[in-house]
Symmetry: C2
Amino acid sequence: RKILSANEEYANENKRFLIENKKLCLNMISSPGSGKTTILTRTIKELKDKIQIGVIEGDIQTDLDAQRIKATKAPAIQINTKGACHLSAAQIHKALANLPIEKLDLIFIENVGNLVCPSAFELGENGKVVVLSVPEGDDKPVKYPAIFAKSKALLINKIDLLNPSRDIDFDIEKVKNDARKLNKDIQIFSLSAKSGEGMDKWYDWLIKGIEKTR
Amino acid sequence: RKILSANEEYANENKRFLIENKKLCLNMISSPGSGKTTILTRTIKELKDKIQIGVIEGDIQTDLDAQRIKATKAPAIQINTKGACHLSAAQIHKALANLPIEKLDLIFIENVGNLVCPSAFELGENGKVVVLSVPEGDDKPVKYPAIFAKSKALLINKIDLLNPSRDIDFDIEKVKNDARKLNKDIQIFSLSAKSGEGMDKWYDWLIKGIEKTR
Ligand SMILES: Nc1nc2c(ncn2[C@@H]2O[C@H](COP(=O)(O)OP(=O)(O)OP(=O)(O)O)[C@@H](O)[C@H]2O)c(=O)[nH]1
Ligand SMILES: Nc1nc2c(ncn2[C@@H]2O[C@H](COP(=O)(O)OP(=O)(O)OP(=O)(O)O)[C@@H](O)[C@H]2O)c(=O)[nH]1
Ligand SMILES: [Mg+2]
Ligand SMILES: [Mg+2]
């Protein structure tokens, strides 16, 4: 239990810091390649006149994702876990100190691509956002339940691939029902970070979330 | 280090058992939804007149994957990890005792959907097979290097989605180059478990592998 309690101490510290500064912080979790970075870059670009977003990127290796975020002119910090399968609250504590917090309205943490381990580590965030993409299949909520049970929102991404001729089997209603059985309050957004479809409702939810933390 | 050594003891036990019985055992690892179960069910069906395959399924929850394997009439054992992000050699030790080993030529282990943790746990298998699917993106070998460095084979799955009208960005040559930089001997198969394209070379490699263990 020792390892979780050190993490909890840092998580509580991060939470205090975010509340004092009245900032919203969301921890984005998914399998590798679900589209987290693509969703973030499009969100930053399309909301740039309304809200200021900063990103803490978590990856095993490389700073590829932070570079993609920086290309939007948003501040980004890259954490390399060098093998660890999730981010820790201590890493987030350090990264928060290196972000221009007073200029930001919203801080995203893009966690390491992994649908299992990150769900067990609190980072001090206001909430978790799980991303599930259409090509992964519609059985993921029942097969990997923890993250769906703990998330405030579920983004069903890559719905541009759902068009009938694309021969991809994905039953969106089944995913919504299974996620709601695990977590009756989960907010569900069907969107495509590529085509832009459905992004507006996700933006509305972010802006409402920011207003609540003020 | 204690936890790895208990795992290593079971892994060595499993390896001895497989060598004594002259059976090939492959540990299949990927992100959730890359197509492991679809590849296995097609492989079992198309090779049923040549080789007998048994499967040990690893999932956090449900026996959905084992049911799909059993529908092909192949023996399958479902292990539920109830939260753990990878299979352990002790679980495999127990599962091997419940398979009709003498009737089988090849045993697949389908690990928990996770591109990180399973790469660190030896199970006593002859080799790891990593599956990467086209929709996940072509940056995965550099971002999640350990599993590509340690695998005997890389299956690039869902190549049916590469056809130009589908607007999916995936540079197959980049993936092959990046994987070979991490592991010069890795065997790479581009295939589609859905359309059947490219499966024949994968089958040849399996049959050669079985002949070598005899
Ligand atoms: N068709 C389609 N492709 C998408 C969409 N969103 C992302 N992609 C593609 O999916 C692949 C992975 O996207 P990323 O944004 O890098 O995914 P990620 O979740 O950040 O990946 P990791 O950081 O490695 O876990 C890329 O090839 C993107 O172009 C979408 O809405 N539709
Ligand atoms: N287009 C296409 N879809 C595929 C292919 N292979 C699998 N799929 C689809 O991908 C989704 C996931 O396939 P699975 O075989 O369940 O994936 P998995 O790796 O076993 O998933 P987990 O066990 O949850 O990690 C399903 O909707 C399949 O129909 C393929 O070659 N092409
Ligand atoms: Mg990313
Ligand atoms: Mg499966």
